[in-house]
């Protein structure tokens, strides 16, 4: 494991008793990364995360966290990690404060230091007024916020979050996003999985994409967003362009795809060719009238769907 690497997963394969298998999955998370781990349900994200935490033993492949094998050295590894699971569960008879205190104690905090840390996290997660309530009476969003909170206790070096936005209402989402942005600013390394590709695009500095149990793409956010090598030219016209106009746009060199939805036209082109002048010219000359014209890079969702489609064809 080279310096600066916090997590290294190499060709992780996990076979389950029912014949199911996940892998090979590989990923590398470096110190300070905010690593977005994306992929559809059942693609192996949670299996990978559980192997990183030492909750399951890989069938083959290697997992190292801070240079340690989490299966063999789970105590030392977990001392450096804060973890929030997908669908978090806490003992329902405990209060939020008790969960945070237990976590703090196990992380070596005590006395006034523990008290201060618990109050800090209660404040950060907006649970101050619910600290004495039993978790059994909490809403799903409150449990999710508590889950993020207990992961932050003791200021861990690595934060592992499995679907942190799952089941959270829009207000809760904003709060969680702000917490994560704050943690990111402080330089904490974060690995998080999510189906919310928009959130991943906003938060992540690196992306790992898994599909059908395998890693299909990994890299910095900018690198991944340009992975398909395309650029989108979007235009809004005064009147809807006819089929002959669309066809003329398709004939421009470097254009890969053209789609129209009413007055809105999207041209996907090879990003090594600048097609903007020709697209604008043909739309204007067609008499449709040009109201808006802009170029956009691919969104993570588009990259993801493009990748899924190409793998599906393969």
């Amino acid at each position: 494991m080279s310096g600066g690497e916090v997590i290294r997963v190499e060709s992780l394969v996990k076979s389950y008793g029912d014949g199911g298998e996940v892998g090979p999955i590989s990923l590398t998370v470096r110190r300070g990364d905010v690593y977005g781990f994306v992929g559809p349900n059942g693609s192996g994200k949670t299996t990978t995360i559980r192997a990183i935490l030492g909750l399951l033993r890989p069938t083959s492949g290697r997992v190292e966290v801070f240079g340690m094998d989490p299966w063999k050295e789970s105590k030392r590894v977990n001392a450096l990690i804060g973890y929030s699971p997908e669908l978090p569960s806490f003992p329902s008879f405990l209060t939020a404060r008790q969960v945070l205190e237990i976590t703090g104690r196990l992380k070596g905090l005590s006395g006034s230091e523990l008290k201060r840390e618990v109050e800090r996290v209660l404040d950060l997660t907006g649970l101050v007024n619910h600290a004495g309530r039993r978790i059994g009476n909490f809403s799903k969003g409150m449990v999710q916020r508590l889950s993020i909170g207990q992961a932050l206790i003791g200021d861990p070096e690595l934060l592992v979050l499995d679907e942190p936005m799952l089941g959270v209402d829009p207000v809760g989402r904003v709060q969680i996003r702000e917490i994560l942005l704050d943690v990111r600013r402080r330089g904490t390394t974060i690995l998080f999985s999510s189906h919310e590709l928009y959130e991943v695009e906003r938060l992540a500095t690196r992306i790992g994409m898994v599909y059908l149990g395998r890693t299909v793409l990994e890299g910095g956010i900018e690198e991944v967003l340009h992975h398909d090598g395309s650029v989108r030219v979007k235009a809004v016209t005064r009147s809807a362009p006819g089929e002959e106009v669309i066809e003329s746009l398709r004939r421009i060199g470097g254009v890969m795809d053209v789609s129209a939805d009413g007055n809105s036209v999207t041209v996907v082109a090879d990003d090594s060719v600048d097609v903007r002048d020709q697209v604008a010219e043909r739309l204007v000359l067609s008499g449709c009238g040009l109201l808006e014209f802009r170029t956009e890079r691919s969104s993570l969702e588009e990259v993801f769907m493009g990748r899924v489609r190409s793998l599906g064809r393969g």
Binding site: L56, R57, S74, R76, Y83, P91, R105, K107, G108
Partner: protein
């Protein structure tokens, strides 16, 4: 506060939050009260000098079955409840080793069993003293209390092992309960057949059953303590001697220790070597 201490306290609170365990604990105490209530209906002449030793009945009665059932119910939920509730993830992602988790949980459940035994022992002595007058040989509590704990151990451990192996609380309770009642019934049946046919081999075979040591050891300790105390060989002494079966205490200890150790070892190996399973969705 170390990891094991945190887990012991947590485990006590967790088990006490379970309704079915609370119901069973209540049943133990009601049995104690009911036992003495029934004895007050006996003519005083029938009790004679044994009324000064009547506290022992309240110690022996639960160890003939109720204590084992309570212990297996407590034991079978120690690990399985965490898997079912999805809270095993919570514990296993804290900075604690699997060994600490195991020791803390096992000791926590055991602490509750110890509290139950201590409480019904105190209740028994209190009722006996207040209803039947001053009680004698209370010094035997020093040996009967550990013996009662030993009584509870095999089925606490068997419940625990089923709970860890199956990771389903109800199923673990049913299977460890079946083990208890199956062993109990088979032992009684074997004893009757052995008595009718004078078959020593069958009696020795029944000593291998998990109920054999567990249901006799407390009685045996009290019988040995009372022997030579000048008590007539009728009444309470003959009742106790009949319950103990007059077998060797060391054999009973061996039986209890073997079942406890094997079950605890199996649970430990399962926990140490298998993945932490997620809650059934």
């Amino acid at each position: 506060m170390g990891a094991v201490d945190v887990l012991v306290v947590y485990e006590l609170r967790r088990v006490l939050a379970k309704k079915r365990v609370l119901v069973l604990i209540a049943a133990v105490f009601l049995t104690e009260a009911g036992l003495y209530l029934v004895i007050t209906r006996l003519p005083p002449s029938l009790l004679g000098p044994t009324s000064s030793y009547i506290w022992m009945l309240g110690i022996v009665a639960p160890t003939l079955g109720l204590l084992q059932v309570t212990s297996l119910m407590v034991g079978s939920t120690v690990f399985s409840d965490e898997y079912e509730a999805g809270t095993s993830d919570f514990w296993m992602t804290r900075p604690i080793s699997r060994t600490e988790y195991y020791i803390g949980k096992v000791l926590g459940g055991l602490a509750l069993v110890l509290i139950i035994i201590s409480a019904y022992t105190a209740l028994s002595v209190s009722i006996a003293w207040s209803v039947f007058g001053p009680q004698q040989r209370l010094d035997l509590l020093v040996t009967s209390l550990p013996a009662s704990v030993a009584s509870s151990l095999p089925f606490y451990a068997i419940g625990l092992a089923f709970g860890e192996a199956l990771r389903r609380g109800i199923l673990a309770t049913v299977l460890s309960g079946l083990t208890f009642f199956g062993s109990y019934i088979f032992e009684g049946y074997a004893n009757i057949v052995a008595a009718l046919s004078d078959d020593r081999a069958l009696l020795e075979l029944s000593q291998l059953l998990p109920t054999w040591g567990s249901t006799r050891i407390t009685t045996d300790v009290l019988v040995q303590g009372l022997t030579g105390s000048g008590l007539p060989s009728t009444g309470i002494l003959s009742f106790l001697a009949g319950s103990s079966g007059g077998s060797s205490l060391s054999l009973m200890l061996l039986n209890v220790a073997a079942y406890t150790a094997i079950a605890l070892l199996l649970a430990w190996l399962r926990l140490r070597t298998s993945d932490v399973t997620r809650r059934a969705q």
